[in-house]
């Protein structure tokens, strides 16, 4: 017999002593009796004198009653020690079950009919494992997907562990085995007879399997030390026929932003030739279908395709879908990788209003960009009728600071703003002969821009306030010369200096530089939310840092997943941490500390993992050069828990005591 001892020994002892004292005390303390009046107590006296001859038996009966109570108490306290029959302490093991819940476990090969998933088969195998545990064995379940999530603490409660296994659902991410093995090794540290059982289909990259070290003396921070741990592998799954999209990307043309091209990689992981039809959807409308998308794959073949100059529809969502072709080789067991998604920023020609006296530099720079539709008014005309700017995407104020600005979301560019109507506060005193000494190259407007030798004779100096979403893009030593601002949906760019034109006395050679049209194009792209380096498609199961389109002052973001779940993620240095656990589209909303919504960007997540799409199960697993054995050693005699029988015995004694008391036997 062994004792699991769920309660600390000292606590148990204190409780035992306290309960025994209480029980004995209750028998010593006399119960307050009810008083009854009788006419002639002498008669009772005589009767009791006769009864007193049996006083010893009476005392004994009372003692029996006390012994009943003490026996009940002892049994309950004994049960609290959780005594177990049949367990052998020295063989008790600490088991961590690493339960693979990666995307490949969604493969429908749990039974021959294909109605159950590989995950269901893994659950059955894991529960058999748990049900076969010895009496002293303790187990802990880890769910392994892109993360390693413990489902419980170490426990010997098989029904509870079975329930935790039942509650596991498969993710749509690859499995991060090194992370899970590291977590399991940490959990098993200093525990007796540690054992890790990996319940999986073995779909892990070789690079991850090689990270394990079995040598305790090998001190490599990059490797996972499993030197003292027995690791077993329980394989599940049997089908391998799968055709999946392993890469999907889309990009715009720099020159023609009204069109885009798609890159896609598709691989046949099966042993038979496969035939599929690829369909590309922009929103709900197909932009590629029919024979154009017909793909025939030999066993193991991977094809890469680029579909060029695809037209943009009204939606920014792109979806690739593989459909089976009727006939042999048309279906597979894993459907998650038959769909991939991507996002394309919505694009249209921007209406740009220039509020300027004739300025050829400005007009010429805009003419080189075919995605704008420029208009021009003089400052006097604008001041007389500000509604001229209604419906414009961008308004450029050239050396003019109007009293009335167009309503949001029209974005604004100012050259040499002055006075209190400046969009960004202006510090007193101009900078004379400023030189650009520092650029914020992380800002979308300043990409690929060099301004180190740009000449300007003077410039206003801005005083940007980060709390208002204002930031400096170009400094002259410490003076803010170029600044940007996000004001809700409106974006504003302000240059402290004037462009040369007409009779202006200020002078700068910026319009003669290549940087000038680039600045304007970058600014217009920023206003449109279109940035070439803003990736919007990420693989699931990886933690990535996402740039936030020049957002300033955001502290955290809320991510809404494809299934509507909301999660919070921190923003550090203008980058939000993003982890996609499902394939689909995500909304990431950056928020200020006071809860204001600062920006909202869309993201897409794909499985895009060849190792997960390769669903062929591994019958054996080799970790760090060591082939893992199956956990056949789990066939141990089931132990018997005694506490339930003890509780039943205590209940029986309570009933007996109750009956004997009320039948005046133990009174």
């Amino acid at each position: 017999m062994s004792f699991l001892g769920p309660i600390a020994g000292t606590i148990w002892a204190y409780v035992a002593i306290g309960a025994a004292v209480l029980a004995i005390g209750a028998y010593i303390i006399k119960m307050r009796r009810r008083r009854f009046e009788v006419p002639f107590s002498q008669l009772w006296q005589r009767v009791l004198e006769q009864k007193d001859a049996n006083a010893l038996w009476k005392q004994l009966k009372r003692l029996i009653s006390l012994l009943f109570v003490l026996a009940i108490l002892a049994i309950v306290l004994f049960a609290a020690l959780d005594p177990t029959l049949g367990a052998v302490d020295r063989r008790a093991r600490s088991v961590v079950v690493l339960f693979d819940a990666s995307a490949s476990m969604k493969t429908m090969d749990g039974n021959d009919k294909g109605t159950e998933s590989r995950l269901d088969a893994a659950k059955r195998a894991a529960k058999r494992l748990i049900d076969g545990m010895g009496g002293g064995d303790l187990a802990m379940i880890f769910k392994v997907d892109g993360q390693a999530t413990p489902q419980s603490r170490f426990s010997s409660d098989a029904p509870m562990l079975d329930k935790q296994i039942d509650d596991i659902t498969a993710s749509e991410t690859p499995a991060d085995l090194p992370r899970a093995l590291g977590a399991a090794a940490d959990a098993l540290r200093d525990r007796p007879n540690p054992l890790i059982v990996i319940v999986s289909d073995g779909a892990f990259p070789e690079s991850e399997l090689a990270q394990v070290s079995w040598d305790p003396t090998h001190h490599d921070l990059a490797s996972i030390d499993l030197g003292d741990i027995d690791v077993r592998y329980l394989p599940v799954g049997h089908r391998s026929d799968n055709v999946g999209i392993v890469a999907f990307n889309v990009r715009r043309y720099i020159a023609n932003k009204a069109a885009y091209e798609v890159y896609i990689e598709i691989q046949n992981f099966g042993q038979e030739p496969a035939h599929r039809t690829l369909t590309l959807f922009n929103g709900d409308s197909a932009v590629l279908a029919g024979d154009q998308g017909r793909i025939d794959l030999a066993p193991g073949q991977r094809v890469s395709k680029v579909f060029a100059k695809l037209p943009i529809g009204g939606d920014n969502k792109l979806r690739a879908s593989l459909r089976p072709v009727e006939g042999p080789g048309g279906t597979d067991a894993f459907t998650l990788d038959d769909t991939a998604v991507a996002l394309l920023p919505a694009r249209k020609k921007q209406k740009v209003l220039m509020v300027t006296e004739d300025n050829l530099f400005l007009e010429g720079a805009l003419l080189v960009y075919e995605n704008v539709d420029p208009l021009k008014v003089t400052p006097a005309e604008y001041d007389a009728k500000p509604s001229l700017a209604d419906g414009m995407d961008v308004v450029i104020f050239d050396d003019h600071t109007p009293d009335v600005i167009p309503p949001s979301p029209t974005s604004l560019i100012y050259f040499h703003p002055t006075g209190p109507n400046s969009p960004i506060a202006i510090r007193a005193g101009e900078a004379t002969n400023p030189h650009i000494t520092e650029l914020d190259e992380t800002h979308p407007v300043m990409r690929w821009i060099t301004m180190s030798d740009v000449y300007m004779d003077r410039s206003e100096v801005f005083a940007p306030d980060a709390k208002k979403g204002e930031s400096t893009l170009a400094y002259s030593v410490t003076d803010s010369i170029i600044a940007a601002k996000r004001d809700g949906r409106r974006k504003i760019l302000a240059f402290g200096f004037s462009l040369p034109a007409g009779d202006r006395t200020s002078a700068t050679d910026l319009p003669m530089r290549v940087a000038f049209p680039m600045l304007l194009v970058n600014a217009l792209d920023w206003f449109a939310g279109d940035q070439a380096d803003l990736l919007t498609t990420y693989p699931t199961g990886q933690r990535v840092r996402v740039p936030l389109d020049g957002v300033v002052g955001a502290s955290e973001a809320v991510v809404r997943g494809p299934d509507g779940t909301l999660t919070q993620t921190p923003i550090i240095d203008g980058l939000a941490t993003f982890y996609g656990s499902r394939v689909g589209y995500y909304d990431l909303t950056a928020k200020a500390p006071d809860g204001r919504e600062l920006a909202k960007i869309e993201l897409a997540a794909n499985l895009a993992s060849a190792s997960e799409s390769d669903i062929a199960p591994s019958t054996s697993l080799t970790l760090g050069g060591k082939k893992l054995e199956a956990p056949e050693a789990f066939a141990i005699t089931r132990s018997k828990k005694l506490w339930i029988y003890l509780v039943l015995l205590a209940l029986g004694l309570i009933v007996t005591e109750w009956v004997t008391y009320h039948r005046r036997i133990t009174v």
């Binding site: 119960m31 009796r33 009810r34 008083r35 009854f36 009046e37 009788v38 006419p39 002639f40 107590s41 002498q42 008669l43 009772w44 006296q45 005589r46 009767v47 009791l48 006769q50 009864k51 009320h662 005046r664 009174v667």
Partner: protein, 319 residues
């Protein structure tokens, strides 16, 4: 848990247990119209049963100046010569004096126990029952032109209704019984001593009591016997006294002495008590039988008129 079923003679005691005494003390409805009719009926029955005895012809055993020859005795110096039986002197040559029974009215003393133990009983306190029986006997006695006195007692002679005669005195009797003080312990021996000291005229002494005297009943009854009274013993008890329905852990309090006894009442204990109660009553009965004293035992569930008739039929009260 113990759930004693208590009723009647045994009652759960409350902090100030005044209701019992109040109930016994409230005797306003004791002698109502119906009671009077019952008394009249009893009187008629007594006359019918004992037809011919229209007057109080009961004689005392006292030798005195009556006309009914009683006995002879040897002449002593100083005796009246007129009572010397000269005929016997002629035959036996001895001077013998003729003795005559003295004719006088019979004195009936009704001694009613008014101690605390008599206040117990359901549905009627024993005391009320005893008073109704006392009133009934008194009425019959008065109607027979006997002299009837009522003496309530407890730990002392509480009061005394002097011997009276005539039916019309019955209302005075009722009033006395209604108003007399009640309570106290039972001190039978002391009370009987006081009684015989206060009443020189011998007569019938009807003692109505439960006879629950810790010092025993013998001394009290013997006192009456020794002083030439004719004891007539009438024991009243309550059925629930004899067969109490108690259960569990109790503290039994004597209603007179206040003595407390902790008891765990079981079925066997109850049976033992019932046997003991019966034994006590039998002891009293055996004692009375031994000394040829009329004895009646009754419980309060028997209607009092039924008891009185039983007494009449036995012949112990009416002659």
């Amino acid at each position: 848990m113990v759930l004693p079923a208590v009723s009647g003679a045994f009652r759960a005691l409350k902090p100030k247990d005044v209701p019992r005494k109040n109930r016994a003390a409230d005797r306003s409805g004791l002698f109502d119209e119906r009671f009077l009719k019952t008394l009249e009926h009893l009187h008629m029955v007594s006359r019918k049963v004992f037809a011919g005895n229209l007057r109080a012809e009961r004689r005392t055993r006292k030798v005195g100046s009556g006309i009914e020859f009683a006995d002879h005795r040897t002449y002593a110096r100083g005796d009246d010569f007129r009572y010397i039986d000269w005929n016997l002197y002629g035959r036996l040559d001895k001077l013998l004096l003729r003795l005559f029974e003295e004719e006088e009215d019979l004195h009936i003393y009704i001694l009613v126990d008014c101690s605390d133990s008599m206040s117990i009983g359901q549905p009627l306190p024993k005391l009320h029952y005893a008073m109704q029986v006392a009133a009934a006997l008194t009425y019959v006695g008065l109607a027979n032109l006997d002299r009837v006195a009522i003496v309530p007692f407890g730990d002392r002679i509480i009061d005394r209704l002097p011997p009276t005669r005539g039916k019309n005195r019955i209302f005075r009797v009722f009033q006395f019984l209604r108003d007399c003080e009640i309570g106290g312990k039972t001190e039978l021996a002391e009370c009987m001593k006081d009684f015989v000291a206060q009443n020189k005229r011998r007569g019938l002494a009807v003692v109505i009591s439960d006879f629950y005297d810790p010092r025993g009943f013998e001394a009290g009854i013997n006192t009456l016997r020794y002083h030439k009274f004719e004891p007539f013993v009438l024991q009243v008890y309550d059925l629930r006294e004899a067969s109490p329905k108690l259960h569990g852990d109790l503290a039994l309090v004597d209603c007179e002495t206040g003595d407390t006894r902790e008891v765990t009442v079981s079925k066997s204990l109850l049976e033992a008590y019932e046997r003991e109660h019966e034994k006590y009553c039998k002891e009293l009965e055996a004692y009375c039988t031994k000394y040829a004293m009329p004895f009646f035992r009754t419980h309060t569930s028997i209607p009092f008129d039924e008891l009185v008739l039983r007494i009449f039929r036995s012949g112990g009260f009416l002659r």
